[in-house]
Amino acid sequence: MLAGGVMGLVLSGDLFNMFIMVEILTFAAVALTAFRNRVTGALEAAFKYLVVGCIGSTCILAGTILLYHQAHTLNLAQLSTLIAGNLDVNTVIAFVLLFIGFCTKAFIVPFHPLAADAHGAAPAPVSVLISGVLTKSGIYGIIRLAYFLFQTMNLGAMQFWLVFLGSVSMFVCVTMALAQHDFKRLLAFHSISQIGYVLAAVGLSTALGASAGLYHAMNHTLFKGLLFLTAGAVLHETGTTDLGKLGGLSKKMPWTTALFLIGAASISGIPPFNGFASKWLIYQATYEKAAETGNIGFAFVTIVALVTSTLTLASFVKVTQSVFFGQLPKECEKAKEVSFGMRFAMSILALLCILTGLFPNIVQKYLTGPAGRTLFNVSAYIDGMMGKGYAQATMGTNMPEAGNRAIEIVGVWNPVNWLMLLMIALLAICIVAIASKYDAVRENKTEKVEAKYSLFYGGEETEFSQVGGGDLFWGFKHNWRHYFSFMHDLHSGIVNDYSLWAVVALALAMVYALIVLL
């Protein structure tokens, strides 16, 4: 039902059908969240999702009704011709309602706590769907609204709105992720952080930004799917996702560890994986936009994006240290490598992560480039829907020019050549290493003389020696303690508060839009 809803949403050319599809996929997601209803918190998470999701859906319905009242049609192409160029109070209010509605589906800040609860409670494959597919449908809705239906993307205020929301989402959620001590909740916050990248890139309204955003959306589906599956594998073997209770799984689950490292490197933007390829395009796009408009604000978006990427790396170092490396606790000793089927599913995603990272040009040329260009070609869509010449006839002077914008990239990045060089260097070093007997003696545990010198340099007992969990980055957290305690107080976990946030966000968006778009 979820997949059907998403497909329906994407294929639908009618505003009311879009609403229906959004409803279908929301309720399917709610039901899936509560799937393991014996798990503590699953029903609570589903309830939260239901309440705030309903607020979003109500907004979409209200927006649809307003537009129907105005234009007496629900066909997107027809609506688009009628709205373009003559925004009035009614259409702006409808736009804000629809926009907030789709934001709840994409879990943009301030709707992010829902995602964390939902992912924490849902089984791993459901998390993959929610994070990989559902959030993208929200982004799709926003793109469709802003680019096609209202054609407002040429307005600076609108670009600022999207880029600002995107930047806030990527930064707030990555810091929230740093504070988590549950594997899946951490991943959930990261997924919104990455959605923030997508939104900021798409909001730039340049050809490069649009294709970079879409590229990152695709990559996010791949690496976040992989990471949720590895979290699921860990949960399957050990029965917990609490970072404080896990450790040392790399010896028990080497495949899962390797696949997790690929996913973590991808999401943290380590070259040459796919996360880097798309994030790099996003940095270029934001900085180019800044130079083009002379607005230093966009340069700060670049800086936030770059720093967020490193913060992402930090939180994945935390996961790696707490789950896969370090000491093996007694509870996890029964863990073993997951079955071939699970490994196979993860391997496909990991392979795709590597391939899309190594061949960004091909992805750009055949997948995201054309998709990005379509965004700027509204009249072609209208003509395609309503018959040739329709856009010209109804809109006349208001017709948007068919932008066939070229993608310009300032920097250079050639992952294949880099990888070849790295391989040559690594091979050479390995040959030297093997030739000079770079071999190891494993310390034999049975030979130990005294317990005092059992394992480590300083003689710590194994069970006290695990460093990890939520407090790993103390130095960082200490400096930002006020920020973190503020965030801690803010995320109360009470659904009333989150509903209030939704209403406040709606009100603020309404005020902003009425001021700047009219």
């Binding site: 070259p271 720093v307 170092v317 310009e408 920097g411 250079v412 190891a440 310390e443 020696s465 103390w474």
Partner: protein, 343 residues
């Protein structure tokens, strides 16, 4: 074809690749140790001491802790070293740059390639399962985070400055070869008033990025037994030490190329005067350029690393973070704003 392949192989293995990095990196580390010692009125080790250390370590037995993941434990040092060597290929030496490599990576990519050695040492340390490594990697990650913001600001201001100056289409240039090429005609970037704060900020970032004193909380020997290296012994430890030395070379040569770029030794006329032409003249200029770059690297090391090392005590990790995100970032930000408004 085969000749080309051999040429690139020589680039990777000899110059500016592995052999060059190995020799100059360790030499730089030796000079640094000697300078610090002289500044503290000690005699200090011989300049070749890092070489002796490295070969000695290579001859020692490697012990893998019982809790460690052996593959990661042994591969992490090699990966870090290889990525550093490849990184050095992308940094031009004044006018000498390998055309085939200059379109592989730009400054933003280099920023992220610099993360790979850090990540590899973190992974290696994490794989031992040692509590010292746990604390060490946490601090290393925070140090990397701390350096990231000023470094980003510096690179963005340089990119913007050069982009505007050469009249690039969007007014930005991230390509190192373009930046070095601009300095050939426009003079070194250190002479531009608006970029001086950025240069100071970069100079302050160097010891943090390489993990030198006083920003070596991650490897505090007296406190957490070198953190991530606590369980390492033998050849892998030697490789990590080598990587550290090469990272000093990488950071200082990046600094030299970004801010002191230009005509290099500038001995074209002199070489012609002696009567050298063709290949011999090019060879002599390149060798003199390399020597000049190494000399500048030594100067940068002396000011940026050794002097700071000699006169300060180790900072706590939260102080490091605060220092980089306030003082150094403010300097770099000042530069960015100045460059942005064309002052």
């Amino acid at each position: 074809m085969i000749l080309d392949a051999l040429k690139y192989l020589a680039y990777v293995l000899i110059f500016p690749g592995f052999l060059f990095c190995f020799l100059t990196g360790l030499l730089l580390a030796g000079i640094d140790r000697k300078l610090v010692a002289r500044m503290q009125k000690r005699v200090g080790p011989p300049i070749l001491q890092p070489f002796y250390d490295f070969f000695k370590l290579c001859g020692k037995k490697t012990i893998v802790p019982a809790a460690a993941n052996k593959t990661v434990f042994l591969m992490a040092p090699l990966l870090g070293l290889a990525s550093l060597v490849v990184l050095q290929l992308f940094i031009p030496v004044f006018r000498f740059q390998i055309a085939a490599f200059s379109n592989v990576a730009d400054m933003i990519v280099i920023l992220y390639l610099l993360l790979i050695p850090a990540v590899s040492i973190i992974m290696g340390g994490a794989s031992t399962g040692s509590p010292y490594a746990g604390i060490g990697l946490s601090r290393e990650m925070v140090t990397v985070l701390a350096c990231e913001l000023p470094l980003v600001l510096v690179l963005l201001s340089v990119g913007r400055y050069v982009g505007t100056a050469i009249g690039a289409k969007d007014g930005i240039s991230f390509s190192l070869s373009q930046i070095v090429g601009y300095q050939l005609e426009g003079g070194s970037l250190i002479t531009k008033a608006s970029l001086i704060p950025a240069a100071i900020a970069f100079l302050l970032v160097i010891p943090g990025e390489t993990g030198n004193h006083p920003f070596d909380a991650a490897e505090a020997e007296t406190e957490i037994c070198e953190g991530m290296l606590a369980e390492y012994s033998g050849a892998p430890l030697g490789v990590f030490k080598l990587s550290h030395a090469i990272k000093m070379l990488t950071m200082t040569s990046l600094f030299v190329m970004l801010f002191f770029g230009g005509v290099g030794a500038g001995v074209d006329n002199l070489v012609a005067l002696i009567g050298l032409t063709g290949g011999a003249a090019t060879a002599v200029t390149i060798i003199l350029d390399i020597l000049l770059m190494f000399l500048l690297c030594v100067v940068v090391t002396a000011v940026g690393i050794s002097l700071v090392h000699a006169v300060t005590a180790r900072l706590k990790i939260e102080q490091i973070f605060k220092y980089y995100w306030t003082v150094v970032s403010a300097l770099a930000l000042l530069s960015l704003v100045l460059v942005w408004y064309g002052l």
